[in-house]
């Protein structure tokens, strides 16, 4: 059984199709990162999974429970950290967390310790006496994450969990999300931040215009780009034309740079190509000074599969 499964899931707002027949699955115990620009349907998908929104057509199941037919049961097993933090404006963070914990039947004996530990982990403890409306954007986002962490749901959803959070805070949140996965939760993270996806994802689903473009592990997605890996090789002496021809024969696109000592190769899998290249160079008597390998970024992956750069999207 999948932790999440959608079948032909569609959502229409007026004349706009936010999701178009989406088929999407998440395995139990993995971190699935949904990567897509604003307007790609990420948030709509998450809102349907957490039962805030009803789909226009199609089905969605969370741990086998239909989100439309049995919404209350779905809400018992899932937790969501919203993109925009939502809290009671005149409550303090600890009372917001206490309320959340009690709504999800967190053991009262352990509740206080859990809340205190989570607040300290997320550097919210110093702000414990502030009202929610006085928290900074980053603090409010961390509180949003804290809600899900203390809940430890079967399915945890994070919608752009580190937007407005500083670099140090980002790393903390990412580590806590991974920890949650290690404790047994299935996790969905929606983001348009490549670094976040790279750090967290067991698998990545790319959404574009309400449809799933591709879904796989990051290495496989990168490998799927023909000529995605760039290998730059410095030789001690100028390279012969014959060696260039030989290396071109190994696959990929090899070009000699202007100084004659340096080659640049665009290959699909650098880890396969480099050993072959070193052997061919050794046979040709060419001494290698250094090798640099650059993998394609997820931005490149997005560009490859959608024809558009992630950063250029509206």
């Amino acid at each position: 059984m999948y932790a999440v499964e959608t079948l032909n899931l569609s959502k229409r707002y007026g004349k706009t199709d936010a999701l178009r027949g989406l088929n999407f699955t998440v395995n139990e115990g993995e971190i699935m990162v949904i990567l897509g620009p604003n307007g790609s349907g990420k948030t709509t998908l998450l809102m349907i999974l957490c039962t805030i929104l009803k789909p226009t057509s199609g089905t969605a199941r969370v741990v086998g429970i239909d989100v439309v037919e049995e919404g209350t049961k779905v809400r018992e097993v899932m937790g969501i950290a919203f993109q925009e933090a939502r809290g009671f404006w005149r409550h303090k963070p600890s009372s917001i967390l206490k309320f959340h914990a009690s709504m999800f039947d967190i053991d009262p004996a352990k509740r206080q310790d859990l809340i205190e530990r989570t607040m300290k982990d997320l550097e919210l403890w110093e702000s414990r006496d502030k009202m929610f409306m006085h928290l900074s954007g980053g603090q409010a986002k961390r509180l949003e994450t804290a809600k899900v962490l203390i809940q430890q749901p079967k399915l945890a959803i994070f919608d752009e969990p580190t937007s407005q959070v500083d670099l140090r805070g980002k790393r903390k949140i990412w580590d806590k999300i991974r920890e949650l996965r290690d404790q047994g939760s299935t996790i969905i993270v929606a983001t348009n931040e490549v670094r976040e996806a790279e750090y967290l994802a067991d698998r990545v689903t790319i959404l574009h215009q309400g449809q799933r473009v591709v879904c796989d592990t990051i290495p496989k997605l990168k490998d799927a780009i023909a000529g995605g890996d760039i290998v730059e090789v410095d030789f001690e002496d100028p390279v012969s034309g014959k060696l260039v021809d030989d290396l071109n024969g190994l696959g990929g696109d090899v070009s000699l740079l202007s100084d004659g000592n340096q080659l640049r190769a665009k290959v699909s899998r650098a880890e396969d190509w480099v050993p072959k290249m070193t052997s061919a160079s050794y046979v040709a008597g060419a001494k290698i000074a250094s090798i640099r390998i650059t993998e394609p970024s997820l931005d490149d992956v997005f560009l490859h599969f959608t024809g558009k750069a992630l950063a250029d999207q509206p």
């Binding site: 039962t51 809400r75 005149r90």
Partner: protein, 270 residues
């Protein structure tokens, strides 16, 4: 945790907001107190006439208590409006409680707000009457006031329901206050909250006098006057009428709020 426990928990959390907006409480209570103490006591001495056996203060105070209940219960609408616009409702929609439970929690919280506020006014009125009033409060009047609490609670849920309805249809915050004030003006004006039924019958057309008679605010003020202040036994038909006129209001508000939650589920926004 059962659905009922969750409902109570949400109602309690929302009700706690009533005490967190201290400035609003201060404004409300200062207006009510000045009405009660200045107007009631001063005018009470200027106007020696008794209305149905009650001094002017005894006549006026139940009206102020009922209007206080009205103001406190309509605060539910303000909270609903804020919750809808600030996204707290979306958070509520992710909690393991049915939509009906969520609606019920808000209406109950509104009822509690109304009863706590009007109860406080009633206590102040009793204290004021005991020390300053021309006549003492009969002991049985206090007992009747305690018995009246559940009925006043139902009235407050009805008004909270109306407030929920207006909050649901208000696109802008100031529009909610316009609707709430219009409701207050019409319900208090066409009522016997501040003047006797005979006065209305004398100056206004018969249908309006009938509406004023069956206005739940009139019924509540009348019962408070007769029993809580004059010490007469509770009139069961008046209590029945109060329930019969309050419950439909609560149902209307609950339905409107339920519709708005359903709209959020379909369109993503209210």
């Amino acid at each position: 945790m059962s659905q009922l426990s969750r409902l109570v928990h949400i109602a309690r959390t929302d009700f706690s907001y009533f005490f967190r907006t201290k400035w609003l409480m201060a404004v409300l209570i200062s207006l009510s107190l000045s009405d009660m103490l200045v107007v009631g006591l001063v005018y009470g001495r200027l106007i020696p006439t008794k209305f149905a056996g009650l001094t002017y203060f005894q006549f006026l105070v139940p009206g102020i208590v009922v209007v206080g209940l009205f103001s406190a219960a309509t605060d539910t609408g303000r909270r609903i409006w804020l919750a809808l616009r600030e996204g707290v409702v979306q958070y509520y929609l992710t909690l393991p409680i049915r939509t009906g439970g969520l609606v019920g929690a808000y209406i109950i919280s509104g009822g509690l707000g109304g009863i706590v506020y009007s109860g406080a006014l009633l206590v102040i009125a009793y204290v004021a009457l005991s020390f300053l009033g021309p006549t003492a409060i009969p002991v049985q009047g206090i007992l009747y006031a305690l018995v009246l609490i559940p009925f006043l609670f139902v009235l407050a849920t009805g008004i909270a329901g109306l407030a929920a309805f207006f909050a649901s249809v208000s696109r802008r915050g100031e529009m909610y206050w316009v609707y709430a004030q219009a409701l207050q003006v019409s319900m208090v004006t066409i009522s016997t909250v501040f003047y006797p039924a005979q006065t209305i019958a004398r100056y206004l057309p018969a249908p309006i006098a009938t509406i004023a008679e069956y206005n739940p605010l009139s019924l509540a003020a009348g019962i408070l006057r007769d029993s809580a202040f004059a010490g007469n036994p509770l009139d069961t038909s008046a209590l029945t009428n109060l329930l019969a006129t309050s419950l439909p209001l609560a149902a209307l508000g609950a339905f409107a709020y339920w519709i708005i939650l359903r709209t959020i589920r379909l369109k993503g926004k209210p």
